[in-house]
């Protein structure tokens, strides 16, 4: 279905995103409602203006923005999920003139669900992690400050969500980039949200500067692409890619850098550990999941949709060696660095780097799609994309879950040392066990979701390397495509990774809680709820992954790679 911007169908199709917009606007407005009156000029008539002035007690409550933001996210997510599960999802394209701007399909909806789910968890956690204070008596000024701060936080979250949705929906690279910038700018502030602490401010600065440079590079790449092809429409670029000159290749490299930063691929990942360490844990969790997924969309769009050789040609994609190198370096770097890291947040950051490497390895395999004798049908590429989608989805469950547990620890003061976790399983067995399960999932221990995702990623790589050679009868080892070695590299890396994941478990179960952490954990109903949701998802998605795999396949099919 095609629709013009702002047509009736447009509003219907974009109802969930509109919910976000409405929520955003409400968050702007509601905290500011007050007793301000507008004096009609030259008269003494004061008309209640309701905007500004002494804030109403009810609307000015510091707790309100959090609830509003969370509710908004929840509603939007709910609408999307219902729509997807109902099968009521139809491909809707938004055009403006001859330019295709946005498109709702299984792929974009899938990512939107990832984003909203991650941000919803983070916002639920933030309700406790950045608590709204209650004020007794006449402290309206402090109350207003707190309210402002709360409103800021959730506005930024919703903005991030909106920007990310835009990335998922866009059919034009520039639109994609605008969305990316929207989300990025919001996350820069979120990272620096703890401006009262040195670490918070520092991490914000670093994340901002490196991110800006990376997006500058990416934008420059886009401009070169525009120069080469005269359009940034995905369809146009994809159709004309084969005719591109060297300029297109340069542009591809530059754009890769832009997205590489988002997925935190080595060597563009340096700011990520610092940012994660300085930011609130829930925010860091969003960076590690949603933000990474956003970068992944970019990579999929640019590498798979645009820069893939057409069916029927002989030869693999131009970027295959580049991406193979990047992926191996990334996963190895991430794992090696995490191996000795004693800060759990940095460790998770490095592990998230490693996970980016895994996904890039899978992307690499798609590049081998038409390589020589590996004559793989299109569903091989779809299988890989589906595996990546699965991985991104379940990351929300266990990586974010791990960050949320750290968030719970931060509530009692910092989680930047491994010893903060010590004895967690004794202080709170359920949380400790949850954390251990998240760690096992990250390490890829069956039957958890993390195993399934790694399994699917590897299986898809292997399947591409094998191709459909069975018809040839006896296959010898040299007939396999070299991307098989990427699978091996992944395996070796996951083996390394077990070491540091397990260390967390050991610390939690074996060590004695450090001074000042002998008491039970702070309660935090909603952050615990978020953790439990993550826990359940980690287990359920591992045990019965079928539904999600189907979803992923539908999403991958809607990319129409073939």
């Amino acid at each position: 279905m095609e629709t013009e911007v702002f047509s009736t169908e447009f509003w219907q199709a974009f109802a969930p995103e509109m919910v976000l917009v409405v929520g955003l606007v409400l968050l702007f407005i509601i905290p500011n409602l007050g007793e301000a009156k507008f004096r009609v000029p030259l008269t003494k008539v004061r008309i209640p203006w309701l905007f500004g002035g002494r804030r109403f007690k009810s609307t000015g409550s510091p707790a309100l923005p959090g609830m509003l933001g969370t509710a908004t996210l929840f509603v939007a997510l709910g609408m999307m999920v219902i729509e997807t599960i109902d099968g009521g999802l139809s491909t809707t394209t938004v055009t403006s003139g001859d330019v295709t701007l946005l498109q709702i399909d299984a792929f974009s909806r899938f990512f939107e669900i990832i984003f909203l789910a991650a941000i919803l968890m983070a916002s639920m956690a933030s309700l406790d992690r950045v608590p709204a204070h209650t004020f007794k008596g006449n402290k309206s000024l402090e109350e207003m400050y707190d309210n402002r701060r709360q409103a800021d936080l959730y506005i930024l979250m919703l903005t991030t969500a909106l920007g990310m949705c835009m990335v998922a929906l866009s059919q034009d690279l520039f639109v994609l980039f605008v969305g990316l910038e929207l989300a990025s700018l919001a996350t820069y502030i979120l990272v620096a949200f703890h401006k009262e602490s040195k670490a918070g401010a520092e991490s914000g600065v670093k994340y901002f500067i490196v991110g800006s440079v990376a997006s500058g590079i990416g934008l420059y790449g886009l401009s070169l692409l525009y120069l080469e092809f005269g359009s940034l429409q995905l369809s146009t670029l994809s159709a004309n890619w084969a005719d591109g000159s060297i300029l297109a290749t340069i542009a591809l490299g530059l754009v890769l850098v832009g997205f590489g930063f988002k997925v935190s691929a080595a060597p563009f990942h340096f700011a990520a550990p610092d940012a994660y360490a300085g930011a609130n844990s829930p925010i860091a969790g969003v960076l590690a999941t949603a933000s990474k997924a956003m970068g992944m969309i970019g990579l999929i769009r640019i590498l798979l949709v645009i820069a893939l050789p057409d069916t029927g040609t002989d030869g693999s994609a131009i970027w295959i060696y580049t991406l193979a190198t990047l992926s191996v370096v990334t996963m190895t770097w991430g794992n090696i660095a995490a191996l000795g890291s004693t800060n759990p947040k940095r460790m998770l950051a490095y592990s998230s780097v490693a996970h980016a490497g895994y996904m890039m390895a899978a992307l690499t395999a798609v590049g081998a799609w038409h390589w020589g004798h590996v004559e793989a049908p299109a569903d091989y590429a779809e299988a890989i994309v589906a595996a990546i989608l699965f991985h991104l989805f379940v990351l929300v469950a266990f990586k974010l879950g791990a960050f949320l547990v750290l968030g719970l620890l931060e509530m009692e003061g910092g989680a930047s040392r491994l010893s903060a976790l010590s004895g967690l399983a004794r202080r709170d067995p359920l949380i400790g066990t949850s954390m251990f399960i998240f760690m096992l999932a990250l390490a890829g221990v069956p039957p958890l979701a993390g195993f399934m995702s790694k399994f699917l990623v590897i299986a898809s790589i292997v399947s591409t390397s094998v191709g459909d050679q069975w018809v040839n009868g006896s296959i010898s080892f040299s007939d396999l495509h070299w991307v098989w070695w990427l699978a091996l590299a992944m395996f070796i890396n996951s083996a390394i990774s077990v070491f540091y994941y397990l260390r967390i478990g050991v610390v939690m179960f074996l060590d004695i809680p450090e001074e000042g952490r002998r008491k039970p954990l702070p309660y935090g109903a909603s952050i615990r709820m978020a953790i439990w949701i993550c826990l359940v998802a980690t287990i359920i998605l591992g045990l019965s992954a079928d539904t999600l795999i189907d979803m992923c396949y539908r999403a991958a099919e809607s990319l129409k790679l073939a």
Binding site: V210, I217, I250, D274, Y321, A338
Partner: protein, 741 residues
């Protein structure tokens, strides 16, 4: 093949004692120390005795039934497994069965084992239950004892080499347990370990030999999998296998027999085995278990008679040589032993060696087509086995009796020497270093222990080979057989010579033992107080004395011939028989054998004993009178001693004597090899394992931490560096893209 009859119950012979094992152990643990248990059941001794009696009875019935025909019975299928022939792809199921096989060999050993075990049981009730050191642990002794008997009986009854080996090992275990009965003594613990390990070395070769044998016969065995005698003794099958391989397999098995029968070079465990409860475990190791090796070699006879002529004679020669060497070596060491039991132990080794030489001759004959001679040699060897078992059993029990009474006497002496309270005398009894087993402390016991002395007297005579008594019949046969072979095969001169010399040496050390112990004046105060007490001890001594003396009856009944080939000699008239035997021994028509006989008799009867008399003889105390059948010997010894009391200090101080005291250094060398080489190597391996093999893992770990540190140090913390890295990354991307484009 199976037949019904008494043989169906033969399985009970080993089974009953085996079942008694847990029963005694359990009851002992339950009722330990209660009066009924101690007084009436003799701490399990009566249970054991009952069971052994039943076994003996059954054994006698079986023997009666199967004196002259082979009996077999299947009991159950142990397990089945399959064999795949890679050439044909056929898969055959092999049945590993359990069964009973009885022929003359079995019958003889079955009798020896059941009979001796029964007697030993009686003896141990007398010996073990009166020694306070054994209080509250005799049930363990009896349990282990019956299990041991079960092993021995099972071994001789087994119908396959596999089950022979299984019971063989069971005996090994029990010997380990019995030697280590006094677990708190380091020497006992050491001896137990040594015995098990040394025999284990032999057993390893036995297993390898069995496995080679299994694979040799496997193609012809059909579904038979258990090395059953029916398969491997089938001449048709033996003819088919490669004799060279067969010889190696049998050689391997022979090494097992060497270990079990304490032959050179695996003999070191036997003297130490005397650490077991005196003298019962020693008796087991001397009179029964060591016969297992002989039994195994005797069992090989069909291979030698069935295989290609001359193909296996090398092995026969090796067996005989090992026998000959051990015979002389053990006899030499026995010269200098002061411990009563050790002398007997070395004597055992030496006599077993005789039997090996005899068996070697028999096997050589069998393999070279001399059937009659083979049967004769075989018969002589097995008859010697029988005689030796009876005599040695008696000797050990007698020595046990001596030691036991010495203990008691010492106890009394020490007790009277002290005035303090009675309760602790059990303890101080261990504190002083009186050696109740040393012959230096004995002397003149002939009058004080008449029954024991008599038993010892005839036992020794039997071992020496005094004409007409016990071992004489068989020993002559062995020596003459060996020389018979030597006439045909010059290499055999070595064992033949050695056994001949050994005969004289036997005469010396056995006489030495007897005279040192029973003749002369008591050398210590303790020896004066010795007297016989328990009724349980003399019974077996008396019985065995008659068994030994009665050997000539058996000889007259052509036992030797029957043992060589059981279709022989069973209905010959006794007087004809004894006449035939006497004629053959003393007036052989073959001049060579005639001379040989008298040389042997001369050596063993005249030279050995007279030398011993001259050194150790002497009359008893005044007023003491030995029984008349011994008195003449004592008087003679006193005369010889006084006539020619030559000085042997030069010999005693020689380096040979020194090394004989050190048992020719075998133990030292083995210990050194074990501790220095094997354990040293093991310790090095353990270090290698943890430092190198595990070290690799640990290095990977530490290296990865170091690499991690270095990688992380690239994250400098400065945003500028991050941008720089990103830019460099961009350049790398360009390079890689260009490389492809």
């Amino acid at each position: 093949m199976s037949e019904s009859g008494i043989i169906d119950y033969a399985v009970l012979i080993p089974l009953l004692p085996m079942l008694a094992f847990p029963v005694i152990l359990f009851l002992g643990k339950m009722f330990n120390g209660t009066p009924t248990w101690v007084k009436n059941v003799k701490e399990g001794g009566i249970i054991a005795l009952t069971v052994m009696g039943a076994s003996l009875l059954l054994a006698l019935l079986v023997i009666k039934e199967h004196m002259h025909h082979v009996g077999t019975a299947n009991i159950f299928t142990w397990f089945e497994s399959s064999w795949w022939n890679p050439e044909t792809g056929a898969i055959t199921t092999k049945v590993f069965g359990v069964g009973v096989y009885i022929d003359h060999l079995t019958v003889m050993l079955l009798f020896v084992a059941a009979f001796l075990c029964f007697l030993i049981n009686i003896f141990s009730i007398g010996y073990m239950n009166t020694d306070p050191i054994n209080d509250n642990r005799n049930h363990r002794f009896y349990a282990e004892f019956v299990l041991f008997c079960s092993g021995m009986l099972g071994m001789v009854l087994a119908d396959s080499f596999l089950w022979l080996f299984i019971f063989w090992e069971l005996m090994g275990l029990c010997s380990y347990l019995l030697i280590g009965f006094y677990y708190e003594r380091p020497s006992a613990a050491y001896a137990a370990k040594k015995a098990f390990l040394t025999t284990r070395v032999g057993d390893v070769f036995l297993v390898i030999g069995l496995i080679m044998l299994w694979n040799l016969f496997q193609p012809y065995a059909g579904t038979q999998g258990a090395l059953s005698y029916a398969v491997v003794f089938d001449p048709a099958n033996i003819a088919k296998v490669n004799p060279g391989d067969l010889q190696i397999a049998l050689g391997m098995m022979f090494i097992g027999a060497v270990g079990k029968s304490a032959q050179f070079p695996l003999h070191v465990w036997l003297p130490d085995a005397m650490e077991g409860p005196t003298p019962v475990s020693a008796l087991i190791h001397a009179a029964t278990m060591v016969n297992a090796g002989l039994y195994l070699v005797a069992r090989m006879f069909p291979f030698f008679s069935g295989a290609e002529l001359g193909a296996l004679s090398t092995l026969a020669i090796v067996i005989a040589c090992i026998g000959g060497i051990t015979a002389v070596m053990a006899a030499l060491i026995a010269f200098v032993q002061m411990d009563l039991k050790k002398v007997l132990a070395y004597s055992t080794m030496s006599q077993l060696a005789y039997i090996f030489t005899g068996l070697g001759s028999a096997l050589w004959f069998a393999n070279n087509g001399y059937e009659e001679l083979a049967a004769f040699a075989m018969g002589a060897s097995l008859f010697h086995l029988f005689n030796h078992a009876m005599a040695k059993g008696m000797l050990f029990m007698a020595s046990g009796s001596v030691i036991h009474e010495m203990h008691h006497a010492h106890h009394e002496v020490a007790h009277h020497g002290h005035d303090d309270d009675h309760g602790d005398d059990h303890d101080d009894h261990h504190d002083d270093h009186f050696d109740a087993q040393s012959m230096e402390n004995m002397g003149g016991l002939a009058s004080r222990m008449p029954i024991t002395a008599t038993a010892m007297f005839f036992g020794s005579m039997s071992i020496i080979g005094i004409p007409l008594i016990g071992g004489f019949w068989s020993k002559e046969g062995i020596i003459s057989s060996a020389w018979q072979v030597a006439r045909k095969e010059p290499v055999f001169l070595l064992p033949a010579m050695l056994v001949l010399i050994g005969a004289g040496m036997t005469g010396f050390y056995m006489s030495r033992m007897w005279f040192m112990t029973f003749a002369g004046k008591p050398k210590t105060e303790v020896a004066e107080k010795v007297h016989e007490q328990t009724a349980w001890i003399p019974i077996p001594l008396v019985i065995l004395t008659f068994m030994t003396l009665g050997a000539f009856i058996l000889a007259g009944m052509h036992a030797g011939h029957w043992l060589g080939d059981f279709n022989n000699g069973h209905y010959s008239n006794f007087f004809d028989g004894i006449g035939y035997e006497l004629e053959h021994v003393f007036m052989n028509h073959d001049m060579f054998l005639f001379i040989l006989t008298y040389v042997a008799i001369g050596l063993s009867l005249i030279l050995g004993p007279s030398l011993a008399m001259s050194l150790y003889g002497g009359s008893l105390d005044d007023g003491q009178k030995a029984k008349p059948w011994m008195q003449w010997a004592i008087s003679l010894s006193a005369k010889v001693n006084s006539k020619s009391n030559f000085d042997n200090s030069a010999w005693a101080n020689s380096s040979l004597s020194e090394s004989l005291h050190k048992r020719l250094h075998f133990d030292d060398i083995y210990d050194a090899a074990m501790l220095k080489i094997v354990v040293g190597f093991a310790n090095l391996s353990a270090i290698f394992d943890s430092k190198v093999i595990d070290g690799v893992i640990k290095t990977i770990e530490s290296t990865s931490q170091e690499v991690s540190r270095r990688v992380r140090s690239l994250t400098t913390g400065s945003a500028r560096d991050y941008i720089m890295m990103a830019t460099l990354g961009t350049l790398v991307i360009f390079m890689l893209l260009w490389g492809v484009a």
